[in-house]
């Protein structure tokens, strides 16, 4: 039954004629194998350091860097993973970073989608000026404003709070642009029906645009989550109490202060990287699909 369905689907989809298998010659087999090896080398190069990190998490502290060098541990031990997961500081940092990342993502999607809708569908004074102003902020390199942003948050007494991590980066011109682009492609006919029912402009945003916003929200949400999860420089400037450290700060501090406990450090790094890797694998289609070459040919 499954086969019949499968066949129907393929027939309906109109199978690409170029993909019909021809009998392969010896030369074609060589090419195929060569491509397989080349592809494997690329993926291996990309994943090898991560694999090494995961394996090192199973080693004792002296095995991670040891003479003579051993790639695999003598005995595979779960102790590092168990120990770091039982460490209240690590767990608190993980939870704290997760909380911040969720708040940051939510705030970012909220403010940026509101602005995106206004730019996509509303008519107002100074529309063009505001649009240019918002877009221009994207071209200001980070270092220029990193230093003065630090001065600003110091003046605002935001240092060492969750707010300093969540609020300053939430508004993003890139995100406004991306969501607006999606909203511009929503057909106006959808709104007209709602208008006839007496919906106002905001109700249209709330009832029609938001429910349709999953695709841009997934891409921009993950971008925001990743940016928060991986951030290091801004936290080391603004967060000084060790009990408020974010994950990357915790790892960097762990590395310098407990430099002999390498197995534990590796296990901690694995657990710090795992959530975002899993998030990426779940949404890889959307994220990779977003990388297109619009108009750059």
């Amino acid at each position: 039954m499954a086969t019949a369905q499968e066949t129907t689907r393929i027939v309906l989809a109109g199978r690409d004629p170029r993909r019909i298998r021809r009998p392969r010659t010896a030369g074609a087999w060589v090419t195929l194998v060569a491509k397989g090896i080349a592809g494997a080398l690329f993926v291996l190069a990309a994943l090898f350091p991560l694999a090494w990190m995961v394996i090192a998490g199973f080693k004792t502290k002296t095995e991670v860097v040891s003479t003579p060098f051993q790639f695999f541990p003598e005995v595979w031990r779960w102790e590092n993973y168990a120990q770091i997961l039982a460490d209240p500081t690590f767990l608190r940092t993980l939870g704290w970073t997760f909380l911040g990342a969720v708040l940051f993502t939510a705030l970012s999607l909220t403010v940026n989608s509101l602005a995106a809708y206004a730019f996509a569908r509303l008519e107002f004074r100074f529309q063009r000026t505001l649009w240019v102003a918002v877009i221009t902020t994207m071209f200001i390199p980070g270092m220029t404003i990193l230093l003065t942003s630090f001065i600003v948050v110091t003046r605002l007494s935001m240092l060492d709070t969750l707010a300093v991590l969540v609020i300053p980066g939430a508004a993003s011109a890139a995100s406004v642009f991306f969501i607006r682009q999606f909203y511009l492609n929503i057909p106006a006919s959808l709104e007209e029906a709602a208008m006839l029912d007496g919906c106002g402009r905001f109700a249209i945003f709330w009832r029609i645009f938001l429910p349709l916003s999953k695709p841009p929200f997934v891409v921009m949400g993950i971008t925001a989550f990743l940016a928060y999860w991986n951030s290091y420089v801004w936290p080391i400037m603004t967060i000084t109490s060790p009990d408020r450290f974010v994950l990357q700060q915790y790892l960097a501090t762990f590395r310098s202060e407990r430099s002999t406990e390498l197995g534990l450090l590796m296990a901690g790094s694995v657990l710090a990287a795992a959530p975002v890797v899993i998030l990426f694998l779940i949404f890889q289609r959307q994220i990779i699909g977003n990388i297109k070459m619009a108009g750059l040919k």
Partner: protein
Amino acid sequence: MTTETIERRRIIAERAPAIRRPRRRYRDTRLAYLMLAPVVVLLGIFVVWPAVYAGFLSFQDWSFYKDPEFVGWRNYVNVVTDPLFLATIGRGFVFVLMTVPIMLVLAFLFASLVVSVSRRFATVLKVGIYIPTIISAVIASIIFVLIYNYSGGLLNAGLAMVGLDPVAWIGDPAWALVAVAVPAIWLGMGLTSLIMVAAMVDIPGEYYEAAAMEGADWWQKTVYITIPQMKNVFLYLLITGFVAAIQQFELPLVMTQGGPLDSTTLPNLFIFNHFRNDVNVGYSIAAALLLFVVLGSVSAIVFKFVNSERLVD
């Protein structure tokens, strides 16, 4: 960062402003301002004002504990006559040369491979190459510093297997910048490769079919079709790669703190360290602004160049 680069490109792509010609009266001004307020206020406080403030402070002698005092161009003069800062710029260019060409070549080969294999294998390749992109600079630094470990690291063990002497990768000023460049390439390959793939997929298949009928081999197709069709993408990746590489500072910050003997002090790391250690904020800000002006004008010129029709045949 990732999406930002993509968005920048899209802005260029979008030539016609989507703003409709306004009627005499604007329909939704009040609602629009309410909906825009959060973004405008946040960007205003945390992006626009800091940028303006940076411009102001770069002309002042100021530290956190005293009133600013106007000093004219003195900070800028101090920056451009500081051999340490100029050395970091030179180092930044060396770092660009170490990373960008290799990334472009590898990404091109990768893309050529991806467009020639089955769809399923292509997906595996794309997902695989992209995974390092989502790893933080801190974790990448931790991994690579241990791999570089002098006496017990993987890399020197590998060298020993082929009979070479161990190298103090991050302890030797001659090697340290290379040691930082490798994880930079590792982290940056994903996006560069996938942009390259997307561009290559966009080349019309008819070109290749016509070439195949003439009996062209892979090499000829690459030289006469693929590369000419992708020159704007190369240019784009070259510039974004240049801007990203010369601004890199998280990796050396975590891996080497700029050492040994300043051999990994890239421009932004120099500015960052200066800001943290020197009470005179004006100097650091002037240096950051100078870098911004240089990078900004290079990007602006090239973006305009890419955007113009001149390059499109």
